[in-house]
Amino acid sequence: MKRNTIVLGVVLFILATFAWAGWANFEYRQQAAQLRLASVDRGMLIADPQGGPPEYVSPLAGKPAPAFALEDLSGAKVALSSFKGKAVLINFWATWCAPCKIETPWLIELRNQYGPQGFEVLGISADDLDRNDAKRFSEEKDEIAQSATKMHIPYPVLIDGATLSDAYGGLDELPMSFYVDRNGVVVAAQMGLTSKSEIEGNIKKAMGQ
């Protein structure tokens, strides 16, 4: 009888230890997530404790996408607000970014697939532009246009994305994508080359599916 009581006590102690560890882990993650979102104004990669791919945490998650109006390749201003009511994928890329060229065909295919349901992609070039030198500016813009043409991009391509760097939590690494729902709220963000299925999952999230 005495032995049984001791064994029962030991088992309860083990269970209590694991419950405490699990609770403490959960609490820590909650606090860390809140701290990250409250204190950072720049996006960051968070290492996966299990060794998987790092998670990109954006300060914009759950917040309205910062408004902008940038020139497209024809010189016309394109505002994010003009896409209200649509789910929008804001994709920052650059002519020198090799992984951007890998994901662009995926974006085109997904835009063709989900476009009729109210989805649009905005490709924003983060290439440096020298606006103080008209000739150089024209050459740089031509280079962006040539790159977009070579990739057969059918969606709007905007320039001067670097001016949005602070508003969008830093654009030091490309590609970078923000998924905006029909109400203009950022529901997901991605940094770096991922996969077509992950991009599609976020598009569905932005579309409310």
């Binding site: 405490w20 560890a21 820590y28 993650r29 990669l45 404790p49 020198w96 080359l193």
Partner: protein, 165 residues
């Protein structure tokens, strides 16, 4: 009694395991450090014959997990690695011989082969120095990526004290 001891021992092991798991979860948080991409290694000082052509081997290292485009990337829009000497330092860069890049493919696109430098590489700088001591602050322009992201083009400082005798 032996049974009780064994149970307590097991409890201790499991409890330590649980605490260790918690510790690991805590340790796993945080953003990885931002990569510096390219570092100039050596030489810091060279002595060459004044007003005569000379070859200086400049050694560089690309940070682990990163690669930079070679001097001859296979895509017209990618930015090549280039070495540049400033004017008016008493040392003229007449030509630079760059190594041939190695092939690299991003995960998810094994078909496309890029030409890149990884790890250590050297550039042979063909220079002509005037007589005297010259601190040359050359620049290496490069554009780096890891296996998922690319970083804007940057320049690495290449400071070499060139003594022309």
């Amino acid at each position: 009694m032996v049974h009780i001891k064994a149970t307590f021992g097991l409890t201790l092991v499991l409890a330590l395991g649980a605490v260790s798991a918690l510790g690991q979860a805590v340790k796993g948080q945080g953003s990885p450090a931002k990569p510096g991409a390219v570092e100039f290694l050596y030489p810091e000082q060279v002595t060459v014959e004044a007003d005569k052509p000379a070859v200086v081997k400049l050694h560089f290292r690309v940070a682990e997990g990163m690669h930079i485009n070679s001097h001859a990337p296979k895509d017209e829009f990618l930015i090549p690695t280039t070495l540049d000497f400033p004017d008016g330092t008493g040392v003229k860069l007449e030509k630079a011989d760059y190594p041939v890049g190695g092939e690299y493919s991003f995960p998810g696109d094994p078909g496309s082969k890029l030409s890149v430098y990884v790890g250590q590489f050297e550039i042979e700088a063909h220079i002509r120095a005037e007589k005297g001591n010259h601190l040359v602050e050359a620049k290496l322009r490069y554009q780096a990526c890891n296996n998922a992201q690319c970083f804007p083009p940057r320049t690495a400082a290449v400071a070499v004290d060139v003594i022309g005798k």
